[in-house]
Symmetry: C2
Subunit: 483 residues, 2 copies
């Protein structure tokens, strides 16, 4: 026996995987694009033996079985837009891309239902729903690039989660390839189903640790006639927080209730819809959504609530202006990244009434660490994108930034929140999960994972701390600190 | 020893349990009321060694630990309103009543949140929310008697689940005593939380098989200003189904979209709000809910949709009449029971577009079995209370009825639905679950239960088929057929 050289391993992987998915759909070594996600902006990237693109549940099953036999980790990959490095591989891993789990899906308008392949982008799902007069509410900022399978795997949120809940609330059925390669169908087309434990919900938000999602069935709603966002600008945080309280007490349930602090607002000032607002140091974005009559009524109530103490309230009325406002909001993350070339962005969640306290604590951490911080996010849900701006060519600065970002995760621990509201734990928050979460809860989660993934090959080192010494980092990533 | 003297087992149970919860809170033998739930109307009742009422999470923990040591099954009990016999004990069991898990709870109006003890009735939760200007949407018909802990344990639904989802959609945190007696806190006050696998969701709908729920944290919404139900009456099923399709296509999302067939309508005819409707053989009940302006607008759209082909549409406007209509709807189940003294009621779910096919199939089963059947339920969710009326003093009739009810459970299998949409599997649908569900899914569910309940003492014989020979019935119940 000769010692297996990397090239022989690669060659045999290429040959075996090509038999399952076809030669064109195996990349050895994987393109760098398959080794990164949105944590690239904090300079994290990984490594893998190969990436493959199976085109069916059966092919996914074949790939997973092969990986388990070879003792290779399976790293499922959607659109690669995650902020937690859950799809960033490391070590002896195979990246399972879901981009070829494609096809038209099927929409049943009369029953408000749709079934889609995991590899369809969220914006394409939304478009197909709209064509049928229907509406898929969750709207993560990355909808143009992220996949519906990834939305389910992360239980993605976005602004409209405030009224509509996260992705999980809309999923009735899944096809999943388990960690031993068996495909199973969980749930189905029924809108209500309590015939088993909620295994559908368990897979939602599991970040690829329980299996590979190949198909998703969603319950939907009729498309709203009108979407009326309001952008209210304030001279300081206190005025903005007061207005948020007024909006919460207005009796209306906005589809979204967002905020931006002064730095985020400055970062995105160049494209602010309606022109510059030099005095504004806090913004609230609310959305009224529904029938024309309902949306107009609710927008007027929200406008009244938000106007109190505001510098101005901007209320776009025509479709083009409405779209421009949301494009601007979706671009905030990129605008903040552009300031220094990189950022470390968390998504801590606190009880909604403690939003103000959390923002003060985040600013204090930044001041203490000598780094520039900013926060924006989903105010109504208490979900804060606490962010450190970094120049990732500056190694010392990056270390200080990672330190500050790590301390952000102590804020929810103090205020009774969660270290992640929608991005997930992935690899970057694994240490925080290991140290902050209850030991019994961590032990339950590990045991539940083992039920779905007996060999432990499904996205190891992600989401679920191993329990050994509280935290085991797994093979290293390049750059950043995979906390 | 006289017959009324407790046996040695009973005496030692009484002594040990009294040490944990106090002598007044142990009943040996349990009162008959603790051995039954709403399946009493199909003549099912059970047996147990004792019932206890712990007053805190710690006391629950003590009781569960004691039960595990003694090898006695733990049967958690809420308000005892279940239709699946999930709280009906059998054999060597201790009933753990949650009625003394009481107290005021805590509502945080500015954050739209409430925390309540498991033993609070759902109507009391709803009342406390309303007092704070808030709204807990799920409204099972038994709200006056059922407990919020039981709602979570069954993932209860009700009419408003159509717009608002089931109980699970509103639960952010739980305190649960696991099968080994350890209390754990799952989730918390944050409205969004993906820091672990969705263990909160897993406990929702677990029917007491994973642990005893002692405290529930709910996200809430502002109370709607107006609730405007509409009752539309039709000469036949076809006209009613057409109207349901029109309502689904109207662009409005009703809070509820219910139906009653001719027999259910007849059973409840005596109290029909607005007076008798002798020609009506199908009814649709829709609800517009929201701000005054929104509810009026949506009620007018729904009225137009439902009026097409209707004999009449009744639209109560004042609070008293609105309440009377819902009281009537909540009373349908009792009215049907009253017809012959008993009923066997299922809650199968089919994809919404197949509701008509399902109703035809249910009627055919009744005709074939020579029993009287009727259906009503949550049309928008395809959730059908398929029911056989029985005189349970007639043994032969009861057997025929059980046979027909069992065949109802084949309808969702044929049409792609679920054997239970909201009542749960309990004991009465365990055989159907064992035979109809996928073997891999059943195996996963058993293994997940074992993680929470290693000794298997938490409500055995309920919800989760054992896997031995497909189905193991466990100790028998008295009366009925614990399928």
């Amino acid at each position: 026996l000769t010692e297996t050289t990397p090239s022989r391993t690669q060659a045999s992987a290429l040959r075996d995987l090509a038999r399952i998915v076809g030669e064109l759909n195996v990349r050895v070594p994987p393109p760098t694009g398959h080794l990164r996600d949105a944590t690239e902006s904090r300079a994290i990237h990984g490594s893998a033996l190969a990436s493959v693109s199976p085109a069916s549940t059966e092919e996914v099953s074949g790939v997973v079985r092969w990986c388990v036999r070879q003792g290779l980790a399976v790293v499922p990959r959607g659109g690669g837009t995650g902020y937690a490095a859950a799809a960033v591989p490391a070590g002896e891993a195979i990246v399972v891309c879901t981009d070829r789990l494609a096809g038209a899906g099927e929409v049943t308008p009369e029953a408000w239902r749709g079934t889609f392949p995991a590899g369809m982008t969220t914006s394409e799902v939304q478009r197909r729903c709209r064509e049928a007069g229907l509406f898929f509410a969750p709207n993560p900022g990355s909808a143009e690039s992220c996949f519906i399978g990834g939305n389910v795997a992360t239980n993605a949120g976005g602004p409209r989660s405030f009224r509509y809940g996260q992705t999980r609330s809309w999923v009735t059925g899944l096809v999943v390839v388990l960690g031993d390669g068996r495909p199973v169908r969980l749930g189905g087309s029924a809108r209500k189903n309590v015939e088993t434990l909620d295994l559908v919900g368990l897979v939602c938000g599991s970040e690829g640790t329980l299996g590979v999602i190949t198909e998703v069935t969603l319950r939907l709603q009729p498309a709203p006639e009108a979407e009326l966002p309001l952008l209210a600008l304030y001279a300081d945080r206190e005025a903005g927080l007061d207005a948020l309280s007024s909006a919460m007490a207005s009796g209306v349930v906005p589809a979204a209730l967002e905020f931006l602090d002064g730095e985020a607002l400055c970062a995105a000032a160049g494209t602010l819809p309606g022109g510059p607002a030099p005095d504004a140091r806090f913004a609230v974005l609310a959305e009224a959504l529904g029938s024309e009559a309902t949306a107009r009524f609710e927008a007027s109530v929200l406008n009244e609530a938000l106007a109190h103490g505001a510098l101005s309230v901007r209320a776009p009325q025509v479709r083009r202006d409405v779209a421009a406002l949301w494009r601007w909001r979706d671009g905030v993350s990129l605008a903040v990244t552009a300031l220094r070339g990189g950022k470390l962005s968390e998504d801590i969640t606190v009880p909604t009434e403690r939003l103000g306290e959390a923002l003060v604590a985040i600013d204090a951490i930044g001041l203490d660490a000598g780094v520039e911080v900013t926060s924006w996010g989903h105010a109504g849900d208490g979900n804060i994108h606490a962010t450190v701006m970094v120049d990732h060519t500056n190694a010392a600065g990056l270390i200080a930034a990672e330190g500050a970002a790590h301390r952000f995760l102590e804020v929810p621990a103090k205020l009774g929140g969660a270290v992640s509201g929608e991005h997930g734990i992935g690899r970057v928050k694994l240490r925080a999960a290991a140290t902050q979460l209850d030991r019994d809860v961590l032990a339950i989660q590990r045991a539940v994972k083992a039920v779905f993934d007996p060999s432990g090959m499904m996205n190891p080192w992600v989401k679920i701390p191993s329990g050994r010494e509280g935290f085991a980092a797994g093979p290293g990533l390049t750059g950043g600190d995979p906390r």
